[in-house]
């Protein structure tokens, strides 16, 4: 009996030990020469979905590609919330007089991490794959209607992917023909056309980039290991043409979903960069005194969209009353601890038309909500006027409007409750809150089954059309079927956008955009609310790490100085 018990005990111990030993198995080597090795530790709360730039295009995916893949040109952040477009895989480029032909001269020293040359053919191939319907490239639609023959190929309307306006004239020269002048084209190329390696893609097909060993990199770094929900380790790419100037040896890009965990590890020195909106943690970090903080608003406007097909919201006066019935600054202070910037135009003030900002070009006239706030002294009276126009009972308390939340998280709940309170107390109407997950909200918007919904949008390039396109009554994401927009205005809107597309003068272009914006914002169809602002803290020993509203962090310039 005694023996058996000892045996059992022994087994239990052996189990525990072997389990622990197994744990220690994947032990990573700590850098012993920490002083010479330049390592940056960063984190994200969402995972990198995949490594194929044709089909993986989420924010974290792009953040990873930004380190390991060089597009033709790069848009990088510089000091003081500025950004610039710099040469990457192409060392220079010419634009034809009419703005329709872009000729990129490839960097002759550019190599893939396997040592082969990066050629114009790789980029030609990348664009052709994007235009191939069966690939289902997620960024393809961005070039539809811009690059010659692109939509015809993508939607199988008589052209082949080989016939799109992207041609490798020779190994070192790539020519792209576009169908209307677009000052933002370079930006679009920088953010949405990371290359694939032609030879390897042809060999692997749909297996391309399913793991870090089945792809190659042409950027400043390459992926050494990737475990989707833990960590991506990128190291300096020795084959990179500018490798001598790259200062970091390694970047550990960790996945931490829980923000409290991330902040605590930042304070304890396990991470070098952190973003947090939590005021208490922010204070603790400030008190520690080891960080630089950057606080820049993002460039993605938050807005409410009103369904013009609704029996009340079809009236402009009622919509305008809703739009001015609350104070946007108060909204930010109450709901977001003051972290945000109120907006009175659908365009963030940083958005540009050519060299200048849109706001500057139109002399601030785009702040339509402010204009409405000045005009409308009594929103409730305006609402009643609107009800009378509609021939409805002028008693606001008989009006019920549904508000669809974008998700069931804490912030969405708070926003819903706050808005309900504001609209009900100022206008005397009833607001019903419809709490739903955000993917369900998309469905409801699709079906037009909502009265007021929350939206937010990160423009793909820093130009007004990137936002105005959304509301294009035919092709926009929020098209007339979803917004219920009808009458003459939608047609006029389309004409204005089309005219702006072919306008080469920046001033005139901006004014056309202004007229278009007036149709959606001043009419109260869209109520811009705020830009989010999340403070980013960077340890003082991290140099050259800049944060901006647009543009990616240029990791090739970042270094550590302890």
């Amino acid at each position: 009996m005694k023996k058996r018990k000892t045996l059992a005990m022994g087994l239990a111990v052996a189990m525990a030990v072997s389990c622990l030993a197994g744990c220690g198995g994947d032990d990573k080597k700590a850098s012993s020469d920490g002083k010479t090795e330049q390592v940056l530790n960063i984190s994200n709360n969402s995972v990198v979905v995949g490594l194929n730039p044709l089909i993986n295009t989420t924010g974290p995916d792009n953040a990873a590609f930004n380190m390991v893949l060089d597009p033709l040109v790069k848009r990088v952040t510089r000091d003081g919330n500025t950004y610039e477009i710099i040469p990457a895989a192409a060392e220079s480029w010419d634009i034809s007089e009419d703005g329709l032909i872009y000729t990129f001269h490839m960097n002759k020293d550019a190599k893939w991490s396997d040592g082969t040359k990066v050629t114009a053919n790789d980029f030609e191939f990348t664009f052709q794959k994007m235009a191939t319907p069966s690939v289902a490239a997620t960024n393809a639609w961005l070039f539809d209607g811009i690059i010659e023959n692109f939509s015809e190929a993508l939607y199988d309307q008589g052209k082949k992917p080989e016939e799109i306006g992207v041609h490798a004239i020779d190994e070192d020269t790539l020519e792209i023909k576009i169908i209307h002048p677009a000052s933002y084209f370079l930006e679009l190329v920088s953010s949405s056309a990371y290359p694939v390696n032609k030879a390897m893609y042809e060999e692997l097909g749909s297996d391309y980039a399913t793991s870090e060993t089945k792809t190659v990199f042409n950027g400043p770094f390459k992926i050494e290991s990737w475990s989707q929900n833990t960590e991506m380790v990128v190291v300096r790419n020795d084959q990179y043409w500018g490798a001598d100037d790259v200062k970091l040896d390694k970047i550990n890009y960790k996945i931490i979903q829980e923000s409290a965990t991330a902040v605590q590890s930042y304070i304890n020195g396990e991470l070098d960069v952190i973003g947090t909106t939590d005021a208490n943690w922010g204070k603790t970090i400030e008190e520690q005194g080891e960080s630089e903080s950057y606080q820049v608003p993002d460039s993605s406007p938050e807005f409410f969209m009103l369904n013009a097909a609704n029996e009340y919201l079809c009236n402009e006066k009622i919509r305008q009353a809703l739009s001015v019935a609350y104070d946007r600054q108060e909204m930010i202070d109450t709901l977001r601890n003051g972290k945000g910037v109120p907006i009175y135009s659908m365009m963030p003030d940083t958005i540009q038309v050519g060299e200048k900002t849109y706001t500057e070009l139109v002399g601030g006239k785009n702040h339509f909500v402010q204009e409405l706030q000045n005009e409308i002294k009594d929103p409730k009276a305006l609402l009643i006027e609107g009800l009378k126009e509609l021939g409805k009972d002028p008693d606001p308390s008989k009006v019920t409007i549904r508000y669809a939340s974008r998700g069931t998280d804490e912030l969405s709940k708070k926003i819903a409750e706050w808005m309900k309170q504001q609209w009900e107390s100022v206008l005397g109407i009833n607001v019903e809150i419809d709490m739903m997950e955000w993917n369900i909200m998309w469905d409801k918007i699709d079906a037009g089954d909502y009265d007021i919904a929350t939206g937010g949008w990160g423009p793909y390039y820093n130009e007004p059309s990137a936002l105005l396109q959304l509301f294009d009554p035919d092709n926009g994401y929020f098209n007339a079927e979803k917004t219920g927009w009808s009458g003459e205005d939608p047609k006029k809107y389309q004409e204005l956008l089309n005219e702006a597309k072919y306008e080469v003068d920046d001033q005139k272009k901006a004014e056309l955009y202004l007229q278009a914006e007036e149709l959606v914002v001043k009419s109260g169809l869209i109520e811009p609310t705020y830009l989010e602002e999340a403070p980013t803290f960077v340890k003082k020993y991290v140099k050259n790490y800049f944060v901006s509203t647009v543009g990616q962090v240029d990791f090739s310039q970042v270094y550590i100085e302890k």
Binding site: A12, A16, V47, V49, N52, T138, N229, Q257, N439
Partner: protein, 311 residues
């Protein structure tokens, strides 16, 4: 016995089939669109291209038959809709072990510590030790594991820097999640062991053993412990199936690369290949552990086996 196990297995297969079918139609019928996140911003035409690729343009019954055919012939759960290029099988394979390691270690601590504490409390019934243990047990059962986790994380890792705040791969990374995982279980095992021991202590055979002149030590080891363990053993079965599911929140808190992340995300993303794959996987584990428990009953307590046999 063979007939009994065979019958159990047949039921298990039927159960799995029903679970798969029900899950498929529930997910397919749930509001929301698996590729909404991916294509939300695209124009209609561009969305169609992506929908076609995943066969989402097909009617649901067609999708079901295709899916089942694939599953039965190749055992393939299909490619994740969200994690493009990765099959649900791979994701499960790559992440299960991590969850299981924490769960198994946690369970080991739960059982060993729980049994010891329960015995100590029962044998010292009414004494201060018993009171202390009972108060701690109530506390530990009431407070959810993620609260323990954040408290442990805050003090041990953040304030005192004894262990890392998060991470995976080294021994030191196990300490916090395993501790947080184990605490609740330790408390329940302590509670059950205490009451089970108390009831055993009152039995006639214990008095007999004492009367025979057994030493107290021997009575506890030979008679009390063995008999009091019976209900505990039957508790371990379901706990075994739960070791994968139990640590979802902890995985998130300590950034541990387990299955939990995918399970939670898959549901909110409507990623139906992942949801079904994971559901089948957990169903197999659960049904399997129930069979094991049934068999264990028979082995541990012959009376149960006889009773079943008579039926």
């Amino acid at each position: 016995m063979v007939k009994f196990i065979g019958k159990r297995l047949a039921y298990a297969v039927l159960t799995l089939f029903l679970i798969t079918t029900a899950t498929f139609f529930l997910v397919a019928g749930a509001p929301g669109d698996p590729i909404a996140a991916k294509v939300g911003q695209m124009p209609e035409q561009a969305q169609e291209i992506i929908r076609e690729k995943y066969g989402l343009d097909q009617p649901v019954v067609k999708r079901y038959t295709t899916y089942m055919k694939n599953l039965l012939t190749t055992g393939d759960f299909g490619e994740s809709i969200i994690y493009t290029g990765q099959s649900a099988n791979d994701i499960i394979k790559n992440n299960t072990l991590v969850s299981a390691k924490i769960g198994l270690l946690g369970l080991l601590f739960q059982v060993t510590i729980g049994i010891s504490l329960g015995m100590v409390a029962a044998l010292n019934r009414g004494k201060p030790v018993d009171h202390v243990i009972r108060v701690l047990v109530v506390l530990a059962i009431c407070v959810p594991s993620f609260v323990f986790a954040s408290v442990l994380q805050y003090f041990l890792a953040f304030k005192w820097k004894l262990v890392p705040v998060f991470g995976w791969g080294e021994l030191k990374h196990y300490i916090l999640p395993v501790a947080a995982y184990a605490i609740g279980g330790i408390a329940s095992y302590t509670k059950y062991m205490r009451s089970s021991t108390l009831s055993v202590i009152g039995e006639d055979y214990i008095i007999t053993a004492k009367a025979k002149g057994c030493t107290k030590k021997r009575v506890v080891r030979k008679h009390v412990l063995r008999n009091a363990m019976l209900p505990i053993i039957t508790m371990i079965g379901p706990s075994l199936a739960g070791i994968f599911a139990g640590s979802f929140i902890l995985e998130r808190m300590f950034a541990i690369p387990g299955l939990g992340f995918y399970y939670v995300k898959a549901v909110s993303d409507n990623d139906y290949t992942m949801v079904i794959g994971l559901t089948i996987f957990f169903a197999i584990l659960f049904v399997g552990s129930l069979i094991v428990v049934d068999i264990l009953y028979g082995i541990v307590d012959p009376r149960i086996r006889v009773a079943k046999g008579k039926k």
